[in-house]
Amino acid sequence: MHIVDGALANEVVIGGAALAAGGIALGLRRLPLEKIPAAGVLSASFFVASLIHVPIGPSSVHLIMNGLAGLILGWAAFPALFVGLLLQAVFFGFGGLTVLGVNTVNIALPAVIVYYVCRRGVTRGTPLVAAIWAGFGGALAIALTTALVGLSLMLSGDAFIPAAKLVFFAHIPVMVIEGLLSAAAIYLAAQVKPDLFDAMKGAPS
């Protein structure tokens, strides 16, 4: 999922960095005081999730958890996931610092899209309906991320369809697992503390 240094054309790297900077600026603007602890927790869970490997055939893929971050944080997922990616690059060598912008966009933009697609279903239904929407959102975020990774590779000269297909099919198990995890997390939150979502909206800063 993380694209490494040297795999992309310079234009893609620069474009990704510009988009990521914009997203982070917008995300910080939409990060009220009340949401900062949640952003930290989700950033940490994203950071650790990448260490959970799901073995698939000869290779393995890891969890990403960007859908859950998007559902709870919205645009604030950009800075939260950026911090997670930065630390992954520094500590684990996942991805790299030059492609940090591209990776941030590839992972945080689907989170924001999921926020807009699924937010209404998650906040305005019974716990079961919320869980189904959250599961859908968790899987959708991974699917969109694979599409963006394929797109980044295509813009750098790879043929889009085989590259995207490869990444997409490798991540189907991750989509299933993340869908279930997101659904379980949101179901729990909706059952135990249904005011969580209202409380976290906070005052726009």
Binding site: H2, I3, V4, D5, G6, A7, L8, A17, A20, A21, I24, A25, L28, R29, L31, P32, L33, I36, P37, A39, G40, S43, A44, F47, V48, L51, H53, P58, S59, S60, P79, F82, V83, G84, L86, L87, Q88, A89, V90, F91, F92, G93, F94, G95, G96, L97, T98, L100, G101, V149, S152, L153, A163, L166, V167, A170, S205
Partner: protein, 190 residues
């Protein structure tokens, strides 16, 4: 202010080269050839992969295929810097190189195995009775013995222990705590 800080942070960090990769690859002299391996840090090796060889100026010198264990051999013809590049797909690219001196050393002693050209006389004395074929066989055995060690060292270097993970979580807690502090201070002041 936090916004400006984080933008500055991301801009200043961007041009730095990454210290580590999730793709591991290396090349080393092996008799009269260059041997190398390509794989992922998880221990999965890249089987049947095309490795392209370039010189320092970017001219393509040739190519090699990896075997089922991710190993490849390439016989150099010119004593120049060799750059190896392999595309593992899905955004994983390995690029590694061998310096001109090392390649020259390989070309300089095609038959005496992996030892560098200026060998100590004392070291070669016990080997004096050996034919070139024996030496090549010993060198091959040595390489076979070293291979699992080298892989283990590479895997160990990519290993993430609990301290690293906790350290990362600590950074996240600190960063967001700092953000919380600034945001709270701004709200109290305003």
């Amino acid at each position: 202010m936090i916004r400006a800080l984080s933008i500055i942070l991301c801009l200043t960090l961007a041009p730095l080269p990454a210290a580590a990769h999730k793709v591991i690859a290396s090349a080393f002299p092996s008799g009269d050839a260059i041997e190398g391996e390509v794989g992922f840090s998880s221990g999965d090796m890249a089987a049947n992969l095309l490795v392209e060889v370039f010189d320092g100026a970017g001219t393509k010198l040739g190519e090699a295929m990896t075997d089922a264990d991710g190993f490849f051999t390439y016989v150099p013809t010119q004593p120049v810097r060799h750059i190896f590049r392999a595309d593992l797909g899905a955004g994983h690219v390995a690029e590694f190189e061998m310096a001109a001196e090392e390649v020259a050393a390989i070309l300089g002693n095609p038959a005496t195995g992996a030892a560098p050209a200026p060998t100590e006389p004392a070291a070669t004395a016990p080997l004096a009775g050996l034919s070139d074929a024996d030496r090549a066989a010993i060198a091959a055995i040595m390489r076979d013995e070293m291979r699992p060690l080298r892989r283990e060292v590479a895997a160990y270097r990519e290993h993430h222990d609990i301290q690293t993970v906790l350290g990362g979580i600590g950074y996240i807690a600190g960063l967001f705590g700092l953000g919380f502090y600034f945001a709270a201070r701004r709200r109290l002041a305003g």
